[in-house]
Subunit: 213 residues, 2 copies
């Protein structure tokens, strides 16, 4: 708790963010395998020694890019959810609104951060392999915790299906990510954002309970 234990460098985070953004650009253009440490050195301005000192190895740099992206998305999702919770609505509308807002968070973040999203979709193995997996898991766990507590009364009232939170995640994110992945790889022509409402409707119909008809 003493002052010394507070992270000392205030510039550090911004600097790290800068490095990760430039690394992302390299990875997006050449893939993780195709990006050499030399390329990262040139793109970021940091020396080879520095990169290894701070990250450990190349995969860990990719992993850090991944985490940074997920945190960024998490922040947006949290913001959307907070705003919703401040809005006074009848329970039935609240249920529908909540599902849709979570879809919007996914669609909007991906739309605004296409490179980051593409990287995340295409490089999941990198984090599964690394220790950062736990970091990530803790982040989503706390978010899920909030959601569980939020949906409980809506489930009890019959406005939402009684399913484990993992399936809520699947129905909310799954279709968005599936479409986004193909779109970001150039295999679909219509932008994800165009289907924002259709995807939200679909998730709502998949998850609404009997009392919501």
């Amino acid at each position: 708790m003493s002052r010394q234990h507070v992270k000392p460098h205030s510039k550090t985070h911004a600097k790290k963010r800068e490095i990760l953004e430039r690394a992302l650009a390299c990875f997006s253009e050449h893939g993780v395998t195709g990006t050499t440490i030399e390329m990262l050195r040139d793109a970021t301005g940091a020396s080879v020694g520095s990169l290894y000192h701070h990250f450990g190895n190349k995969e860990a740099i990719a992993s850090a890019v991944f985490i940074e992206g997920m945190n960024d998305f998490g922040a947006l999702a949290m913001k959307y959810l907070s705003e919703l919770m401040e809005t006074p609505l009848p329970a039935k509308d609240m249920a529908e609104r909540a599902i849709k807002v979570m879809v919007y968070a996914n669609v909007d973040w991906i739309t605004r951060n296409p490179d980051w999203a593409r990287f995340v979709f295409q490089n999941r193995r990198i984090v599964s392999a690394s220790d950062d997996d736990d970091v990530l898991r803790k982040g989503t766990a706390s978010f899920y915790g909030k959601l569980i507590e939020f949906k409980a009364p809506l489930v009890a009232a019959g406005y939402l299906k009684d399913l484990p939170i993992e399936l809520y995640g699947a129905f909310i994110s799954g279709p968005v990510h599936d479409y986004a992945r193909h779109y970001l790889a150039g295999r679909h022509d219509i932008p994800l954002s165009e289907y924002r409402e259709i995807l939200a409707e679909g998730a709502w119909h998949a998850l609404k309970g009997h009392g919501a008809h």
Copy 2:
């Protein structure tokens, strides 16, 4: 059309399949990056020269594993769809059945081929990067063609929503893949197969048209 143009080696495919399965085992255990050519040589029994002669480079081996897996899945999906088409059903039931059967195809293939599925989920970048992307696209395109023609009358009758086929794919595969990905990475405890029916129901509710209520 002459006999010479028919692929000459009958053993070749089985042998290649064998090699790809062993390569998959390596990749699953150590990741693509963590697997060296030497490891692949030892695991498959083929020499370094042979591997390069047949595949070109390491990524191409991974890419071939990917394609093999997707074709395997495609065959199962096609089988399920054919069986359905032979079943005489009233249009309304047919709509629901079709959506659910496609979900089952996904769930069942993943359940039976967990290593292959995990590999596919975690290494999509490899194929996006390679030329094999087109091979894959053509495969799914012909399958999608069948689906489009199949759903047309059901859409016209109001039993299914009028959405582009890409969104059908998203609502059918998205939630399954999202859950499966986490499950196969050890982040969820309940097996995918346990949620087979719930996932099918969800997809159906997301896609059913007004005439199906």
